[in-house]
Symmetry: C3
């Protein structure tokens, strides 16, 4: 694939990821019976929050989504659509979960590679890739007054971390960037989908927690 | 109005806004029966948090309030006063709501214009103006264990966004800064007060949210 | 003490502080019956979050813990140990509280002196020292869906503020850095331990809060 086509593909994937994440944020607002504004804010932070945390931590300010206004239209559109057509969108739960896995796989890889670009070592870069993928959803849950869903047994962050790690490690080889990104992406996506299909759960603490 | 007088007016308005926001934060602490320290922290984050988020996102670090220690005394004073005289201050609810609208109108304009100064385009700048106005209150509510009040139908963020947008758009004309700021300020303030007087509510989702 | 020995001592103390804070974060996860991943995240943010907030606010990005991957291994180890051996670790509550006071005393001093290094004035620097000490625990509590424990009468933030203030003020004299740091550290630690032993409580609001 030529460079420019790859770049265009990346932007389209990126906007798709932001859109799906924003839909999940706006759905949380609707389900808590919060107002239109909450749907827009929760949509926005879910779609963009992970990247904001990464960019603020690595000093890449202003974050990309604030430097390019088109990135802001996507979560706004997702928030409006979800608020007004939530009944139909809510029925697409399985489709949303699938697209969400795509978004996660994409964000963990682009987040990790951006951190590498800013000079971070492999371990912090992989962690920041994971944060890019899961950060928006965590802010969404905290703002909506929920404990983050990914704390309660869902296998979600680990695929992001593993996918990010694969990308970071392959990035140190001579492989072309497309291959590096595709490997990280596929690892995260495959892992996440397997976890969904097989119903894997993250381990819970054993025995009584002596409070 | 000469430049220096305008600057002094701005600082006085700014400190007034921080003070009133800080009072609202400390009142939340008192009403949750939290301790003196919580009143100071919630006062501080409510008064300064919106500006902190903006400054961190646009890379204007350290934030103004940390570079000028006098900005820190205002929320501390507000927190102490509110903690020890909350009974009297609580009775001033309507006055506080009025001043709070002033603070919102001011912060959305100064926040948006600062973002423009740092090179942001109109849409992100207007959004950051809104964030400057509403961010402190959102952190306050999350720290106090509440869902942000602005998520539950209050018309609060929209006036801030509209006021910020007016300021950002007029700033691209040849109008003097005083006029630009005054127009954005009045728009937000008028909108917010109208919403309060008329009892406007933000739209809530329609129909059952199929959880 | 020669400079290099002092530096090594500082790193060891720093890692000890991060470890103990991370244990407290992971214990909150276990006690809420959250999963392994939550134990790691809550451990990580409790150990490193205060420093992250400070570094982001003063513009020292990426934060030290992201620039040096060894800093990341400590909270990961603490999270794993706590998750798998929480029954034993929970019984060490008093030891943890003691070490936690060490961590607080250390972080408030190193945080404040770093802020001074970045050009902040004494009052903001002391506040950022306090934030370095208490910020991680506040993020932990918010993510776990709790109101921050330090809002409910615990004498915890005040020792951190006083210790940080002592360090910042002595730093303006000709005293050697070791003495400055030791004085701030001892002040915070002594204050915190006295509060624990004597059962001091922060003042709660008096009279009914007229909601």
């Amino acid at each position: 694939m030529p460079e420019t086509e790859f770049a265009t593909t990346l932007v389209v994937l990126d906007l798709t990821g932001i859109f799906v994440f924003a839909v999940s944020g706006a759905l949380v607002a609707v389900r808590k019976n919060l107002d239109l504004f909450a749907a827009l804010v929760l949509g926005g932070v879910t779609g963009l929050g992970g990247g904001f945390i990464r960019d603020v931590l690595i000093g890449a300010t202003p974050p990309a989504a604030l430097a390019d206004w088109r990135y802001l239209l996507v979560p706004i559109a997702a928030g409006l659509l979800t608020f007004f057509f939530h009944a139909s969108i809510g029925r697409l739960e399985r489709v949303i979960t699938l697209f969400d896995a795509f978004g996660l796989a994409l964000f963990c890889v682009t987040g990790a590679l951006k951190a590498v670009d800013y000079g971070l070592e492999p371990l912090p870069a992989a962690l920041l890739g994971m944060v890019t993928g899961i950060g928006g959803g965590m802010i969404r849950d905290v703002l909506a007054g929920n404990v983050p869903v990914i704390f309660e047994g869902v296998v979600y962050a680990t695929p992001a971390l593993v996918g990010a790690a694969v990308a970071v490690l392959l990035d140190r080889t001579d492989l072309p960037l497309v291959v590096v990104a595709a490997a990280g992406f596929s690892t995260c996506l495959g892992f996440r989908l397997l976890a969904l299909v097989r119903g894997w759960r993250a381990p819970l603490p054993k025995g009584p927690a002596n409070v």
